[in-house]
């Protein structure tokens, strides 16, 4: 790792001020995306602002027809929460399949969404449920939030504080795990809330998480795997690497979507 200074701001406001003063500083949450990247010397922050102990940044609460989860909430807490299991079981299941037990003990919801790794799981849930990302400045809908590979709408001095997930009538996530890393080679989150139908895909797109409008349209009549039987998406715009070609990923999107629908 390159040298950096370490600080522990004791409120979100203080952390924001420190970020505003030093554009090269970075927030440290669970550290399970940032530290590996720093160990490879692919990131060189001047300062790490550890938000891990800021009070009120983690927690899970049901507010009316939404589930509000603090940015600092660890994956294991979401996976085990009875509130999440009752209100949005698909989200609890997704969190329980992130990485391995030790990763889930440290990694956080906010860290995952801020990082926006193209193979990460939470972005599929946020986009697939139409979540709202609540930051130190504003509220951003998931549709406006994800901007590409590791790119989000967050400004340099903006911190995710919590995320509000609307409760869906039906929802499910299916991921085809990369056998070595556990990340999604392709993961599909489907949901139905009134007339709002969403199919969000992670792992496959060459510019990150995306929605499949053709599937969503076809599912309007009936929210069932049958409605999209035989349908596929073009390989154009899919990523391609040693783990899978664009054609393979495009194919998997259909397969995972049907499996998710069967489960929802």
């Amino acid at each position: 790792m390159y040298e950096f200074k370490y600080a522990r701001p004791n409120s979100v406001r203080q952390a924001v001020n420190m970020l505003a003063k030093d554009p090269e500083a970075k927030i440290l949450a669970g550290g399970h995306s940032l530290l590996p990247v720093m160990k490879l010397r692919l990131a060189k922050p001047t300062q790490l602002l550890d938000i891990g102990r800021i009070e009120g940044l983690s927690g899970i609460e049901q507010k009316g027809r939404s589930l509000v989860i603090g940015a600092g909430t660890r994956h294991v807490e979401v996976a085990n929460s009875q509130v999440v299991k009752d209100a949005l079981p698909a989200l609890a299941a997704l969190a329980g399949e992130i990485g391995d037990p030790a990763v889930r003990h440290r990694g956080t919801l906010g860290g995952s969404l801020a990082n926006n790794d193209p193979n990460a799981d939470y972005p599929a849930a946020a986009l697939g449920l139409g979540a709202t990302i609540i930051t130190s400045k504003r509220r951003i809908t998931a549709d406006d939030y994800f901007k590409g590979l590791f790119e989000t709408a967050l400004e340099p001095d903006e911190i995710i504080v919590k995320v509000s997930f609307p409760l869906a009538k039906k929802a499910a996530y299916e991921k085809f795990k990369h056998p070595a890393s556990g990340f999604a080679l392709v993961g599909v989150f489907v949901s139905k809330r009134g007339s709002d139908i969403r199919v969000a895909v992670t792992g496959a797109g060459s510019s990150g998480v995306f929605r499949v409008k053709s599937f969503e349209e076809a599912l309007k009549k009936r929210f069932s795997p049958k409605s999209i039987e035989g349908m596929s998406i073009p390989a154009d715009g899919m990523s391609s690497d040693i783990h899978g070609s664009a054609e393979y990923r495009a194919h998997l999107v259909g397969v995972m979507a049907r499996r998710a629908l069967a489960k929802a």
């Binding site: 040298e3 370490y6 550290g31 790490l48 391995d100 030790a102 990763v103």
Partner: protein, 160 residues
């Protein structure tokens, strides 16, 4: 440099460290507790697993400063130096759950954490799934799984 203090295996320790110091480096290089291993550069192998405030974490992906004020348990702290082995260690010995032994400290610490979360009766599928973050290049896992099932049973009535 930054001041860090924590409890490691029940003993209070304080040091001035470069903020870059990983928890595993702190344990191995500052405290000379070399039972915790480093097997990879990608946070995937689990050889470095220790308990931080009672919970299994990868010490290669945690800064020493993130553990400031906390309590750390390493493989050295699992059993008293002059006493019998911890039941999970004993089960690994009994069931031949290791060959070269490189992965073993992480396996044992993960296994003890598994019992905390999942109880004393662990079936094979649960154990294999829970070992997702621990790699062994020697054993083929078969005896590790057997050892953990037996160790979990033997831990009945113990806190850790």
């Amino acid at each position: 440099m930054a001041a860090v203090s924590m409890t490691v295996n029940g003993k209070a320790v304080t040091a001035d460290v470069d903020p870059r110091t990983l928890l595993v480096q702190f344990l191995r290089e500052h405290l000379r507790l070399t039972g915790t291993h480093v097997g990879c550069d990608t946070s995937q192998c689990g050889a470095c697993v220790v308990h931080l405030n009672g919970i299994a974490v990868k010490s290669c992906t945690t800064l020493a400063l993130q553990a400031d004020g906390g309590s750390v348990l390493t493989i050295e702290g699992l059993a008293a130096a002059d006493g019998p082995l911890h039941p999970m260690q004993e089960a690994f010995r009994e069931h031949h759950g290791l060959q070269c032994g490189f992965c073993t400290p992480g396996m044992v610490m993960t296994a003890v954490d598994m019992v905390r979360r999942k109880g004393n009766e662990l079936d094979e599928q649960t154990i294999r799934h829970e070992l997702d973050g621990n790699l062994c290049r020697c054993t083929g896992y078969h005896n590790i799984v057997k050892a953990i099932a037996a160790g979990a049973k033997a831990m009945k009535g113990r806190a850790a």
